[in-house]
């Protein structure tokens, strides 16, 4: 095929490494990215006039961040780079891309989706008070804006990011009031053997914990979050049950919450890719083969938007998916390179399985949320209303529950409430979460201005 039209969505670690492989093969991919600079979420770059160093911004991950940024910058004009561009729809081998108020359809022969992940959040009474942030937002505030989310911050949830963000806050001079982890010590130990697949990463985690302890940051495990306290103007504490089952309160002015990650999979859905339920992470994910080929012939997937394996794996997956694309386009591939990348992916997968075991999504908490808890903040729908769509109205699965209750029909289109709402529906149906189905994605991926201009500049 002469000059195949290749589009990569995402300029994080996966998209960067994929572009690098394709450029090395003499191709010229178009990279569509929402960010104003490359790096994705994990290696988010501050605005150009910010002066904090890579070491200050990325801590233990500084070398990797530097390498990924340098790799992207080195591509220069050998790619067509479209920053600040939202991929909002896919249909008939065309990607609809929005920049500012202008949208155009980009035809492709091959498409690599590397859109990354968002925080996985769990509703909680009081979680909509001003002063509650996701872990990712707390981290962005620090990385991109150089500020903390509050004076006295509690980090609540589970997963490696919980500890990493707490550590980064401590390093930036904002030692958190506490880290409250829903996972137990036993669960974390049970993940150790698998996480040993990447001893370096594991060691980093252990060091991070030790640094938090030395810094005097209390770390409580096996907690059950009960409420974010405060009023309409802000947060003044959290209420939770500790490992002994005693109810406790802790004063704070901000809460950073998150339960590991949620794959940004709507583009894969719009492209028509098939999904499967991954029991390890309790999420529906687009199917891929070992190379990153989706169920659609010309759609490839890499990074946390396809499998939640973390940033290092995203780099590997990006390279592999580019190799698969090249092979499918008739380019010869070095079998040894591919085999090496695949071995690396296996290690990443093993490590990620350990992480999932050590920091499980506490799905039972969603099922037990009090009826009055707001689940869908866009549409202001409570857990009780969502449950009633099952119990009183007879919705047998999540899309029907959405149709009845409007949970997931607001601005976020279920990107934030979707996973918790699936748990609530499944519990109300007295079934497993995978039996309650998967929320269907609909364009636009994010809101689209009505005053939209076309390629010709006409509205």
């Amino acid at each position: 095929m002469a000059d195949p039209r290749i589009i990569i969505v995402g300029a994080g670690p996966a998209g960067t490494r994929a572009a690098e492989v394709l450029v090395a093969a003499g191709l010229r991919p178009t990279v569509v990215d929402e960010g104003s600079r490359s790096g994705g979420q994990i290696y988010r770059r501050p605005p150009p006039n910010f002066t904090r160093s890579h070491d200050a911004l990325y801590g233990t991950e500084a070398a990797k961040a530097r390498a990924v940024h340098a790799a992207f910058d080195a591509l220069g004009d050998r790619i067509t780079y479209r920053p600040e561009t939202l991929a909002w729809a896919i249909k008939d081998d065309r990607l609809h891309a929005l920049k500012g108020s202008r949208s155009e359809a980009l035809a492709y022969d091959a498409l690599l989706l590397a859109p990354g992940a968002t925080d996985r959040v769990m509703p909680l009474p009081g979680w909509t008070r001003p002063g509650c942030y996701s872990l990712g937002a707390a981290q962005i505030a620090l990385k991109a804006q150089g500020c903390a989310i509050g004076e006295r911050v509690v980090f609540l949830g589970t997963g490696p990011l919980l500890y990493l963000v707490a550590y980064q806050y401590m390093r930036a001079g904002h030692a958190p009031a506490a880290v409250l982890d829903t996972s137990s010590y036993g669960q974390q130990l049970s993940g150790l053997a698998l996480m040993a697949a990447r001893p370096g990463q594991l060691l980093k985690g252990v060091r991070l914990l030790r640094a938090l302890r030395r810094g005097g940051v209390p770390v409580l495990r096996n907690v059950e979050p009960l409420e974010v306290l405060g009023d309409a103007h802000g947060v003044d504490g959290v209420r939770f049950r500790d490992a002994d089952g005693s109810e406790r309160r802790l004063a704070c002015t901000a809460v950073g919450m998150g339960y590991h990650l949620r794959a940004e999979s709507q583009l894969a859905d719009l492209a028509g890719c098939e999904f499967r339920f991954d029991p390890a992470v309790q999420q529906w994910l687009p199917q891929t083969d070992a190379m990153g080929r989706s169920s659609r012939a010309n759609v490839y997937l890499a990074g946390d938007g396809a499998r939640l394996l973390g940033a290092d794996a995203a780099e590997t997956a990006g390279r592999l998916a580019a190799c698969a694309m090249l092979a499918d386009l008739g380019h010869r591939q070095d079998a040894r390179t591919v085999a090496r990348l695949q071995r690396a992916m296996k290690r990443h997968a093993r490590f990620a399985e350990g992480v999932a075991r050590a920091f499980p999504w506490p799905h039972a908490l969603a099922a037990e949320l009090p009826d009055a808890t707001l689940v869908c903040r866009c549409e202001a729908i409570t857990a009780g209303e969502l449950r009633a769509s099952v119990t009183a109205l007879g919705a047998p699965e999540v899309n029907r529950a959405k149709a009845f209750s409007r949970v997931g029909m607001g601005r976020c289109q279920g990107r934030f409430c979707g996973l918790a709402s699936q748990e609530i529906v499944a519990a109300a149906c007295k079934g497993r979460v995978e039996a309650a189905g998967r929320l269907r994605g609909q364009a636009p991926v994010k809101p689209l201005p009505i005053a939209l201009l076309g390629e010709d500049g006409r509205g």
């Binding site: 249909k91 029909m409 601005r411 609909q442 689209l448 009505i450 005053a451």
Partner: protein, 384 residues
Amino acid sequence: MAEPRRRADVVIVGGGIVGCSTAFFLRQRGLSVVVLERWLVGQQASGTNFGNVRRQGRYLPQLPLANRSREIWGRIRELTGSDVEFMPVGHVRFLWSEEQIDVVEAYRREAATYGLELHILGRNAIREKFPFVGPEAIAGSWSPHDGHANPRLVSPAFARAARRDGAEIVENCDVLAVEKVGEDFLVSTAQGDYRAPVVMIAAGAWAAGLSAAFGQPVPLKAGGPQMGVTEPLPYFVHPVVGVATATAEEVIYLRQIPRGNVIFGGVRRGPASLGAERAKYDPDGVFAQFRQVLRLAPSLSHARLIRTWSGVEGYMDDNIPVMGASGKVAGLYYAFGFSGHGFQTGPGVGDVMAELIATGRTTTPIDDFHIRRFGEGGDAGSPG
């Protein structure tokens, strides 16, 4: 779990608004009924349409049916026990050109003979009454008693009410064949057979295959409405809004729900396939739709679209539904092909079909919709 009812007075193929409301009204008349739905009730055209409870602009001979339906809409909460968000806020069609004034004036006169009250409002009157309307509008045709409802809720509400009253509603049940065996129909499904002396085909876009199997082919095509909804905005568009135009590209309709979201559709239909459970919104159509939306309500230029959708609707060549007895096979009834405007009439169609099946006649004229207009006139005598 109790054994499903395998035999009933009536089996209805298709659990859209027509199938579910017919089942409800058949129970009111004491007949036993089973509804067989391939997916979930009201999932296709009935659940994905715009939600227009509109009479004005309809094919005139359909107005008696639409009036009967409007009367049911007014009682729908008491009948079904559910709030389907029916809001009789009125329906206005704006005019962009002088030529349309004669057209809507003539329609107003004719509609009045069917008891539909319409008012033609001039340039100043529409601005006073509908301050949101764009500068191009020169007049409006106002139907004060029309309105809108939430299509996602209506068919399931009829299904629940019918079930409450003793109907059997079977979801996720694919009908494989419908045959006449002796006096009875045998309806084969993947979950077993059902028998009844009466069958009603209410399978929307999928109905043509079933009527053809009884030697009554019809020109029915699948099409997908192109629907979108904005983020919530202050509640400023109270009526349902449309356009009176002879130009297809100018056809647009929108409504706002009290929650604040503006729902719109129109301009052109997308493709839909009978082989797929879902039809997809065509993102290329978004520019043309937005242009027409902004002609109606320019202040929406500050709003954002948050979701699009489509569904599978069945369109007849002549845009007129097929409704009534088969006329060829005794005990066989049809109600399908509502061509993108069957939501308002849905409850009325259910009431009329139940009346026809139970009594053999209807007090509302439906002759214009008979399948015999496509040839193959009936010879198998009396319905019911």
